[in-house]
């Protein structure tokens, strides 16, 4: 992966956690509420870091480990399914 991509690009891997990129989340840092698809994603296949599009704070980190993955919800206060 060169540069950063949109959260939308994580749709495949997040589906393994039964999470859709149209889910909304609130940034614990600045309070911005946006669908996961709008997050700004850096990193590589081992660790993808999703940052808030408004304040650049880390929202979550997705680790790919042998045999599975781990979603570390570092900077989100909640998720919901209301439309954007």
């Amino acid at each position: 992966m060169r540069g950063h991509v949109d959260g939308n690009a994580l749709a495949g891997i997040l589906s393994e956690l039964q999470l859709d990129v149209t889910v909304r989340g609130r940034c614990a840092g600045c309070g911005d509420v946006a669908v996961l698809a709008r997050a700004v994603v850096y990193g590589d296949e081992q660790a993808r870091v999703a940052r808030c599009a408004a304040c650049s704070g880390v929202l979550f980190v997705l680790f790919t480990e042998p045999g599975g993955m781990r979603l570390q919800l570092r900077g989100m206060s909640w998720l919901d399914t209301a439309p954007e």
């Binding site: 060169r2 939308n8 690009a9 495949g12 999470l19 990129v21």
Partner: protein, 239 residues
């Protein structure tokens, strides 16, 4: 719409596109169709078991088990050179999808739609154009397509055919055809002001392309007064 499972597709057609890309048509039993703008993940497995997964936008939309990808070759990529140079008709490819329910256009949307693509970023926008045409939608569609030169166009023939309700503006960044009125340059705020659907008509805007292109366009659109919530972007890092 959430799918965890991998399916096996078979290549039924390949077609050279642009100078370094290719369209690939797959028949995927169990696919079940997709909305315009969605993508899929493709997975390659090496003989030693090493796997690489990459996301590719779909150029096709609608029901059925046949889908079309268009892939640009990134010279140092792990996957795209294989898809562009090696994959043959009859070969199998593992795919997962359709994915992403956000960067999408549905035929029941009636508002004006501004599409802005850079290079192979045209691919999901092409799916929207095809979906618009197939549904005989009366929503106004405009496409701004930024690319190096004419020969770098994906879907050149299809985009130069008239399509009801669609206006296409070509913006060349390096080489223009002879006598072309606009000098070669990257897309500017003036291009957006002159060619894009005006702010006052509240268009939905879809921007797809390399990261730098998408950021520049999105910033200009917001400065022109477009509502950030009506702008959807899809950046690709490339691999």
């Amino acid at each position: 719409m959430v799918t965890g499972g991998w399916m096996v597709g078979t290549v039924v057609e390949v077609r050279a596109e642009a100078t370094s890309g290719r369209a690939i048509v797959l028949e995927v039993p169990g696919w079940g169709g997709n909305i315009a703008g969605q993508h899929l993940d493709a997975r390659l497995t090496a003989p030693d078991g090493y796997q690489a997964v990459r996301s590719y936008s779909l150029a096709s939309a609608g029901e059925g088990e046949r889908l079309e990808l268009a892939v640009d070759r990134f010279p140092h990529g792990e996957v795209s050179p294989y898809l562009v140079d090696e994959l043959r008709i009859g070969d199998e490819l593992e795919v997962r999808g359709p994915l992403g329910g956000w960067f999408v256009w549905r035929p029941d949307q009636t508002e004006p739609v501004q599409l802005i693509g850079g290079g192979s970023g045209i691919v999901p926008l092409m799916a929207m154009i095809r979906s618009h045409r197939a549904a005989r939608s009366t929503a106004e569609f405009r496409l701004l397509y930024s690319l190096r030169g004419e020969e770098d166009a994906f879907f050149r023939e299809e985009l130069t055919q008239p399509s009801p309700g669609l206006a296409v503006t070509w913006l060349f960044t390096r080489r223009t055809p002879t006598g072309w009125p606009r000098p070669a340059s990257r897309i500017t705020a003036a291009d957006l002001e002159a060619e894009a659907i005006p702010v006052g008509r509240s268009p939905s805007v879809f921007v797809c392309g390399p990261t730098g292109f998408v950021e520049a366009v999105a910033t200009n659109l917001v400065e022109l007064g477009h509502d950030p919530h009506r702008i959807k972007t899809e950046r690709f890092g490339g691999s």
